[in-house]
């Protein structure tokens, strides 16, 4: 499977995701944001970081970069797109995913391992997980508080487009297990066609027991499935 990782000035999880992809046997290429052509890809990853120093709004400037037009075209023709952390923020700024990520409710940058629950395991990104499986995964963000309008929230629920929710280790998703104030504890969402996933947690940080755990591996093996 061929993957492309888009790199912006200020991306800082680009190499982590590349290592994870290569470990999982993806044929990966790094693509600088000034490129106007995408290599042939089955998967495009927009990595985490602080593209353009979070100027204006997180992801706003990257969302207007040259390569993004190609990403939008590829996404519309069915290519799989994964946005992690700042990548999720960028995807909302491009309009590929609806809603936006607000500043964390407690105004603090949160960097810790949290529990999330797999809400929809019937997608290209999550088919190797069990439904409602609880996994432990790292979050590291200042703007992870997902917000959208009531009509879209309804669509997310009805169409099963909520991919992951924050929860506690027993799977309870409520205010106490919500790290950033995100609407309905949402940690990741899909577009209507389910070929685009945006998530705040970092699966690429959870592929090796030496540094963390392997709870992120199934996301990548799902893609290869």
């Amino acid at each position: 499977m061929k993957s492309s990782v888009i790199v912006f000035p200020g991306s800082n999880c680009d190499r982590d995701i590349a290592v994870a992809l290569e470990k999982m046997q993806f044929k990966n290429q790094m693509v600088w944001h000034k490129e106007t052509k995408l290599p042939k890809s089955d998967l495009i990853v927009i990595p985490g970081g602080f593209s353009y120093g979070d100027y204006l709004r997180s992801g706003a400037i990257a969302g207007k970069s040259l390569i993004i037009d190609e990403v939008i075209k590829a996404a519309h023709s069915g290519c799989l797109v994964l946005g992690i952390c700042n990548g999720f923020q960028i995807l909302t700024e491009t309009g590929l995913l609806k809603g936006t990520l607000l500043r964390n409710k407690n105004l603090k940058f949160i960097n810790k391992d949290v529990h999330i629950k797999v809400i929809n395991n019937n997608t290209k990104f999550s088919n190797k997980y069990k439904k409602n499986q609880i996994i432990k995964i790292n979050i590291a963000h200042n703007e992870g508080n997902y917000f959208t309008d009531p009509k879209h929230l309804d669509e997310l629920k009805k169409e099963n487009l909520i991919a992951f929710k924050y929860c506690d280790e027993k799977g309870n998703d409520n205010e106490n297990s919500n790290p950033n104030g995100s609407l309905e504890n949402i940690a990741g969402i899909l577009n209507a066609n389910k070929n685009i996933l945006g998530m705040m947690p970092h699966p690429e940080r959870m592929v090796d027991t030496i540094i963390s755990n392997k709870d992120g591996v199934n996301l990548f093996s799902s893609l290869l499935n």
Partner: protein, 92 residues
Amino acid sequence: MAKLSQLNLKKNKLKFSVTVTLKKDVLDPQGKVVQNTLVNMGMSNLKNIRQGKHFEIEIDESDTNSAEKKIDEMCKKLLVNLIIEDYKINKI
């Protein structure tokens, strides 16, 4: 000649301000913290604070209406996230 073109430049330049604030129903935690701090400092009659962004934009246009239209386009395309933010354009 140099003076004349400078004059023309000046004549064609219009200046606007754009104020961007979070919509009423969007939580503004920064505004709340600023508000609480001011209340703690003794400003007890303070009712509400919403924090926002301010842009000053100069544009090479002589017609105010078409300049405003362009500023509006800039707001909609980049400066403002319409899901969560409102904006006001003022001529300055």
